[in-house]
């Protein structure tokens, strides 16, 4: 095993390293000498719950997923933890929910290995909890993925479905071009069965399920959060002041402590009546979604082979791209440079009454987002034609890019658009077959 060789090497070098270390200790004093213990950072929405609710959520999360040092392998979640589950659970229905290959190792070894690989290679950007807020994250644009919504952009699955293990495998192995996500092709030696890659993928899936669980439970408890108490006070203050201004009598706004006490009382009732069901339903929802992602029916398979990539097909693709039918140009621009008029607009912020403060499109994490510049020949979700086909068919999850497949475009049409888009990096910026400065007219002609 190469791990053993590595240890031996370290053994022989240990004296030198220890000397260096003690020197380092003297020099740096406290600094980095003692690593802080890794922990799963809580979501802001958890931290903002009233104390009773927060402690309840944290307890649920600890019981269901543990800590970075004491992992909990919850059989409900479709994760291949590795090894055989304890005998007592042999009849457990969901433990068998994911048909894992026969594996006689100690239970949980794959999760353990995944954690180790993750902590060495991934946490710098993606953070201990997979929140995309590792120490390096603040310097990066685009931001590292925050797994905690359970959503990933580049998938081979239908619009409502999650990412598959194969998709994650490809991303880990080959990276995401145009971003900071590098290729981890060297994580495994050829012929070793991608043990490390597979383990880290299970760990990432597990982190995603963990994060989504926390998010969804927080959403259920939004009435018991300091944020909603703040909201209530602000509202009461607002109506009090406007009543006073118009000379009416009104009750002064309630105090924070009174509202917190009331929320705590309400939470007690909720905890007794509804909490367990909410957690249970949430866990089932998450598990079902992740199980479905890896089912064959979730995969996008083009119904027709790629339309021959020739001038006629590209022209059909171009007319579609410029048409009101697809409106590709509104985001990706008339020349495909990703600078369409939508990038100049102010867009509403979902779930609030406001708009984003800066122009342009945003993803569900609230990060500003540029539509892909199609003239660079760089495709984040993969450069195989079928990858581009799938981007158009199912849209790009978490972004404004909608799904076109099955409704707006037939599979043949999508291939035409793929052929056109993939020809763009090699063509002059003004499409020669159309009117130079009036692409809208081209679309109108196409319809007639």
């Amino acid at each position: 095993m190469h791990g053993r060789k590595f240890s031996m090497f370290r053994h022989s070098a240990s004296a030198a390293l220890l000397a260096a270390a003690s020197l380092g200790l003297v020099l740096t004093g406290s600094g980095c000498a003692k690593n802080p213990e890794a922990q799963f950072a809580w979501r802001d929405s958890t931290e903002l719950l009233i104390p009773d609710a927060r402690k309840t959520v944290q307890k649920t999360m600890h019981e269901s997923f543990g800590t970075p040092h004491d992992l909990v392998a919850w059989a409900r979640m479709p994760v291949q933890y590795g090894g055989l589950a304890p005998a007592a659970a042999a009849t457990d229905d969901a433990a068998a929910g994911d048909a894992a290959p026969v594996d006689n190792g100690p239970f949980g070894h794959q999760l353990q290995l995944g954690r180790q690989v993750y902590m060495k290679n991934c946490l710098h950007c993606h953070g201990v909890a997979g929140d995309g807020a590792g120490p390096t994250a603040r310097y990066l644009n685009p931001k590292p993925r925050d797994y905690r919504l359970g959503l990933f952009k580049f998938t081979s699955t239908l619009a409502p479905e999650r990412i598959t293990r194969d998709d994650l495998h490809r991303v880990v192995k080959y990276g995401i071009p145009g971003t900071y996500m590098p290729s981890f092709l060297l994580l495994d030696k050829p012929g070793t069965g991608d043990v490390n890659t597979k383990a880290v993928i299970e760990y990432v899936r597990w982190l995603a399920m963990r994060g989504e669980m926390e998010k969804r439970i927080d959403d259920e408890l939004v009435d018991y959060s300091l944020a909603s108490i703040d909201d209530e006070i602000a509202k009461a203050k607002n109506s009090y002041e406007s009543a006073k201004a118009s000379g009416e009598k009104a009750d002064p706004p309630p105090s924070r402590s009174a509202l917190t006490r009331k929320a705590a009382g309400d939470f007690k009732t909720y905890l007794a009546e509804d909490y367990a069901d909410a957690v249970d339903g949430t866990a089932d929802f998450i598990a079902e979604n992740w199980i479905r992602a890896d089912e064959e029916a979730s995969l996008i398979v083009p119904k027709v082979a790629r339309v021959t990539d020739n001038a006629a097909s590209r022209e059909r693709g171009r007319l579609l791209y410029m048409s009101d039918k697809t409106k590709c140009y509104t985001c990706h621009g008339h020349t495909g440079k990703g600078n369409g008029p939508a990038t100049e607009d102010f867009w509403p912020k979902p779930g609030s009454t406001e708009k984003y403060a800066n122009r342009g499109l945003h993803d569900v994490w609230g990060n500003k987002l540029s539509p892909r510049n199609l003239r660079q020949g760089q495709y984040r979700g993969g450069r195989r034609p079928v990858d581009v086909f799938r981007r158009i068919y199912a849209g790009i999850k978490t972004t404004p890019m909608p799904a076109f497949g099955g409704t707006v475009l037939k599979d043949e049409d999508i291939w035409d658009v793929v052929n056109y888009v993939m020809s763009l990096p090699y063509e002059p910026e003004v499409p020669s077959a159309g009117p130079a400065k009036a692409p809208r007219m081209a679309a109108t002609e196409a319809r007639q």
Binding site: A21, C32, N35, A73, D324, K325, T353, P402, T407, L409
Partner: protein, 301 residues
């Protein structure tokens, strides 16, 4: 064997960490994995009960009789009418399609003192109430780049047909919190419709937008019972066939968000309760409290 090597390596780990890169995340720390069964036995046992209990108590609900609620959402104070989002012919995008009509600003619609588009609903079905599924599709249309209707209640499991009456692409993009998000292009002039099904009830209405036309917004509320309505153009609403007893309604409007957490109404069997819901005009100012600040002191994020 492995373990002894591990122990040997232990002495080096802090040193290596120091010499190489300083603060790591404890990649080499020993970890334990604890097995947790899918469901505890207690949970399985209680799972079996609700079905039977629900069936039994539906009869109780029927035995208690049903009544209705009727009323209006009334604005207290003055709300000036909002100008349209754009005038006829002046759509910021697709003027030849969207601009055929002015786009009304439906965020606050007041007619005759009544507030429209207010959701009045029970957050969960009355105790023991078992509702039958709805199979007839609900219609969600788009015309002149405006969603129709602006506020819609839909049942879980009920198919929602998304139509398009414009000769241009729309995409319907939902932002639910319990359901799976939906972002699908809707073909120009699509009169057959694209099907959307909400599988879970939501705690509050969710926003629906179109990424092609940024002014287009609407609200959907998926619920798992029939006791949810949207107030009409003049603020009137009616909820029928409620089991007799006290019910706590949530009242929600897109500008004020949650207007009432628990608006209590007592229903008597065979009677119609007439009740108006007052809303102070100042609540529609469309404000939200500044989010509370969190200071993260952890360096392990």
């Amino acid at each position: 064997m492995m373990r002894s090597l591990r122990t040997a390596a232990w002495a080096i780990v802090p040193a290596a960490a120091l010499a190489m890169c300083g603060c790591g995340g404890g990649a080499d720390a020993t970890t334990t994995v604890t097995y947790r069964p899918s469901r505890s036995d207690a949970a399985v046992a209680t799972d079996a009960v609700p079905g039977a209990a629900a069936a039994a108590s539906t009869e109780v609900a029927v035995a208690g009789g049903v009544g209705s609620i009727k009323g209006r959402v009334l604005i207290q104070g003055n709300v000036p009418p909002l100008p349209p989002l754009y005038a006829k012919g002046a759509a910021p995008k697709d003027p030849t399609i969207c601009g055929l009509e002015a786009a009304p600003n439906e965020s606050i619609v007041v007619n005759d003192g009544g507030l429209a588009n207010v959701f009045i609903y029970l957050p969960k079905p009355p105790k023991g109430y078992a509702s039958s599924p709805v199979t007839e599709p609900a219609i969600f249309d788009q015309k002149y780049c405006v969603f129709k209707p602006h506020a819609l209640v839909v049942r879980t499991g009920q198919p929602l047909s998304i139509l398009n009456d414009d000769p241009a692409l729309h995409n319907t993009h939902t932002y639910p919190s319990r359901n799976t998000g939906f972002n699908q292009g809707i073909q120009a002039n699509d009169r057959t419709g694209v099907k959307l099904v909400y599988t879970k009830p939501e705690a509050k209405p969710l926003q629906v937008g179109c990424d092609v036309h940024n002014w287009m917004t609407a609200y959907h509320l998926p619920v798992d019972h029939p006791f949810a309505v949207v107030s009409g153009p003049d603020g009137s609403f009616e909820i029928k066939d409620l089991p007799a007893g006290k019910h706590d309604f949530k009242v929600w409007h897109e500008k004020a968000l949650e207007l009432e957490k628990a608006f209590s109404i007592t229903v008597k069997a065979g009677e119609t309760v007439e009740i108006d819901i007052p809303v102070a005009a100042s609540k529609l100012a469309g404000f939200q409290a500044a989010p509370s600040k969190i200071i993260q002191l952890s360096s392990t994020r």
